[in-house]
Amino acid sequence: MLAEISVTANYYLSVAAALFTLGASTVLLRRNVIIMFMGVELMLNAVNLTLVSFANELDDRAGQAAVFFVLVVAAAEVSVGLAIIVSIFRTRRGATADDLVSLHG
């Protein structure tokens, strides 16, 4: 019975929507800065999945090229973001997102 269900683009888009929501909830609910960053990565992956789903549905290579560039930008963003986190934690050990209230220092 399960074998007859054909998986259309809507299925993948629903999973991408749920994944985006979970990533957003991670950013909203967790106070550990590194885990908030992981939530951002989840959201980026949800967008990648959406782009690939539409590229497959509309038979267009541009969606896959766009995902390629999103991957590259995400990698650059992670490296810089983690460097910022390292430099923040150097002065205050055990800081959470609630403690990071001022722009300097």
Binding site: L22, N32, L42, R61, A62, A65, V73, A75, V86
Partner: protein, 182 residues
């Protein structure tokens, strides 16, 4: 069969994301993130995005997660968990926002709407050509400008990360110190 694989991969993806949301230890959360990213790679494979599945595994599930783990170990966050605070008053607001996001995206994707514009870069598959050559062709010809810009972006990111993470007043190591290593 496709539906069974879809169900399995979506369990991986959403279960991994739930793990990132709920797990207290950052190292456990990073491992859960790896599970989710591998599930995404399976989705890419199911949708004729072969190059992207490989790049996803190489870049995301390996390099980026290892970077996360490096920083977690470097800062010692896996031993000391400062964020024992409960979400508290933030929880209903977060649930409300998440429900709105989910509802909005579900409403938008319940039908697949196409606008009827022409294809941007041509069909995905062509006889005799692999997906790698198809995507590489469009990256290096139509979008080569964006490709070069991402190269510059990566260079800037590397230099920026080194500058940001460097200790204040750190000098180059001298001859004597260099011979002390190993």
């Amino acid at each position: 069969m496709t539906f069974a694989i879809f169900l399995g991969a979506s369990f991986l993806v959403l279960g991994g994301a739930l793990g990132v949301l709920r797990l207290r230890n950052p190292v456990h959360a990073a491992m859960s993130l790896v599970v989710s990213l591998v599930g995404i790679a399976v989705f890419f494979l199911m949708q004729n995005a072969v190059l992207l599945a490989a790049v996803q595994i190489i870049v995301y599930a390996s390099a980026i997660v290892v970077l996360f783990l490096f920083v977690i170990m470097l800062l010692g966050v896996d031993k000391v968990d400062p964020s024992n605070a409960e979400p508290g008053t933030r929880l209903p607001l977060a649930v409300g926002v998440s429900a709105c996001i989910l509802g909005g995206i579900f409403a938008a994707t319940s039908k697949v709407w196409t606008t009827g514009t022409e294809s941007l870069a041509g069909p995905i598959a062509k006889d005799g050509e692999s997906n790698v050559s198809r995507v590489a062709e469009v990256i290096f010809t139509d979008y080569v400008w964006a490709f070069e810009l991402t190269g510059i972006l990566l260079t800037i990111a590397v230099v920026g990360a080194v500058v940001l993470a460097r200790k204040e007043g750190a000098s180059l190591i001298t001859e004597g110190e260099a011979s002390d290593v190993g």
